[in-house]
């Protein structure tokens, strides 16, 4: 396996991005002048303190939200509406599932517009539900599942869609450590097999380093880029081997140090 991949042509570019919610006295500046690029097939992790604007950033990249200034370009074209081939796993996963659809219908819903043959549709649903270990819950309804299971349904839905760009907003926040490790490896597997470009927001420093090619560290609110750290660790990554490698430990410490001043003096925990 190669240690680092060849430089990729840029797929996505965020330039001068600013977003302010509201106006006048109640205005909240969520993002202040963000600039970064994401290469084709790259895995980018985004970390930053709570409330710094990560969700807002993903909403702007997905085209759901018009930024108040700046542009997001995909394939060299500015995004004005939701582009094709993009999927977003919402942080608020429970609200993004449809309670009147069964688990398998929820996963199937985005596929309906892809005009796939029936057999392939079935196959994708089965495959992605199996990947998140929910094949037994296919006929259940979201409200019959635990929070972590609902989160996995939302992940399965995005995976079955096989987007070109996959945006994930703290997708593993409600699952236990073992499931989390499994899901990390699952996402890496999907990323490699279908050469997806992934923007992955997380609060977990280990996770951000373990998964990605680059870690983007954001400042406290309003978000701007503090550092853009390349992760040169070899692939395929392994939960035990990679995480005990010297390079990993060094990178992890570097990210943690970068986040610390950004967090200010009020907290001193080990995670963000």
């Amino acid at each position: 396996m190669t240690v680092t991949r060849a430089p990729r042509p840029d797929l996505l570019a965020v330039a001068g991005l600013c977003h302010t919610y509201g106006a006048g006295a109640v205005a909240t500046v969520a993002i202040d002048d963000l600039d970064f690029e994401v290469g084709q097939g790259e895995f980018l992790s985004i970390v930053g303190p709570s409330g710094c604007g990560k969700t807002t950033l993903l909403r702007c990249v997905s085209g759901l939200q018009h930024p108040t200034a700046g542009t997001v370009t995909l394939h060299g074209e500015a995004i004005s509406d939701v582009p094709e081939g993009m999927a977003l796993v919402f942080q608020d996963y429970a609200r993004s599932l449809f309670p009147w659809m069964s688990v398998s219908s929820n996963v199937e819903f985005p596929l309906s517009r892809l005009r796939l043959p029936r057999s392939e549709r079935r196959e994708r649903i089965g495959e992605s539900l199996a990947a998140v270990r929910l094949d037994a819950a296919a006929d259940k309804y979201p409200w019959q599942l635990s929070g972590g299971m609902q989160q996995r349904v939302a992940i399965a839905r995005a995976l079955a869609y096989r987007p070109e760009v996959l945006l994930m907003d703290e997708p593993f926040a409600s699952v236990d450590a073992q499931t989390r490790a499994d899901l990390e490896d699952l996402v890496l597997d999907v990323w490699r097999r279908f050469s997806v470009t992934i923007l992955f927001v997380t609060h977990d420093i280990d996770e951000s380093v373990y998964l990605s090619d680059r870690v983007l560290v954001l400042s406290r609110s309003p978000a701007s880029v503090v550092a853009d750290i390349p992760v040169g660790l070899p692939r395929p990554r392994d939960q035990i081997e990679t995480k005990s490698a010297d390079g990993f430990v060094r990178l992890r410490a570097e990210v943690a140090r970068l986040i610390r001043p950004a967090r200010g003096a009020e907290t001193a925990g080990t995670s963000i």
């Binding site: 997905s62 759901l64 939701v82 094709e84 993009m86 999927a87 977003l88 919402f90 608020d92 609200r95 993004s96 449809f98 309670p99 009147w100 819903f109 985005p110 309906s112 517009r113 309804y141 409200w143 019959q144 869609y161």
Partner: protein, 280 residues
């Protein structure tokens, strides 16, 4: 509350509670009927026949036909059928119009801005006040009655549909947009299902109002129908017949309501489950 009362409330909350609650409720109904029977027997008033007598009259008048006509009498065809026709055509017309218009107003902002105040105003009109207007406009025929019912029950359907559509979770719509679902399919697969519980609430209210308007319109100007039969009985001093008509109307109201409840139960199974979950 005494010890027995405590035990009763505790009993109602157990798993067996559902069965005992049903038992308790039917016991109350039976007791009520019994009191009614005893009181009317005691006072022997010509204006208050006993429930058994009224019920006998209901059977005799409408449900004593031959097995070939499902035991329905000719009287059903003469007076009940026209009433039901008016009721259902008026109500269904309002459902189609109210849900369709409600979806449009709920989804299209400029339409809401334009029509919102008018819609709010119509809510304040007591439906029976429309009777004279419809008499003047449409005469005394079926058109007047169907029109009256349709217009009279429109506001609750319309308002509930608009409310339901407006309260669709924005994140669910965003989910649809992200996955490239077009407007039409978002309407069919997200907006309508999500608004369905509220739409059904409107349907239930409107059905009750529809029965009221049907009776009023037949009392005021009609040559057939249950309301007409009721009026005839009163004019002929056939007091037991009068009571029988009143009882038939309540049976009809109950039957319509439970029919709608059945449909709702089937359509909204997910909603009851999801709500029960969120209460925990």
């Amino acid at each position: 509350m005494g010890e027995a009362g405590d035990r009763l409330t505790r009993g109602l909350t157990t798993v067996r509670g559902a069965a005992s609650e049903l038992l308790l409720r039917s016991a109350v109904v039976v007791a009520g009927l019994l009191v009614w029977q005893l009181v009317t027997m005691a006072i022997e008033s010509a204006f208050f026949p006993t429930p058994l007598e009224i019920f006998g009259r209901v059977i005799e008048t409408w449900f004593s036909g031959s097995p070939g006509t499902l035991f329905l009498t000719e009287e059903v065809g003469r007076n009940v059928a026209p009433s039901l026709m008016r009721l259902l055509s008026g109500w269904l017309l309002a459902v189609a119009l109210g849900v369709g218009l409600g979806l449009a107003i709920g989804r299209i902002d400029w339409l809401a801005a334009m029509l919102g105040p008018i819609v709010q105003f119509t809510r304040a009109i007591p439906p029976p006040a429309l009777v004279p207007l419809f008499l003047v406009l449409l005469g005394i025929g079926d058109g007047m009655k169907v029109g009256l019912i349709a217009v009279g029950v429109l506001p609750p359907i319309l308002l509930n549909t608009i409310d339901g559509v407006r309260s669709v979770d924005s994140l669910q719509l965003d989910t649809g947009r992200v996955f490239g679902i077009d407007r039409r399919r978002r309407l069919a697969r997200i907006v309508i299902p999500s608004a369905m519980p509220q739409i059904f609430a409107g349907l239930r209210v409107s059905l009750a109002i529809a029965v009221i308007l049907m009776v009023i319109s037949e009392l005021v100007a009609s040559t057939d129908g249950i309301g007409f039969g009721l009026l005839q009985a009163q004019r002929g001093f056939r007091i037991p017949d009068m009571w029988a008509h009143i009882m038939l109307l309540s049976i009809l109201g109950l039957a319509l309501n439970s029919g709608l409840t059945q449909v709702e139960r089937r359509a909204l199974r997910w909603h009851r489950g999801a709500r029960r979950r969120s209460e925990v």
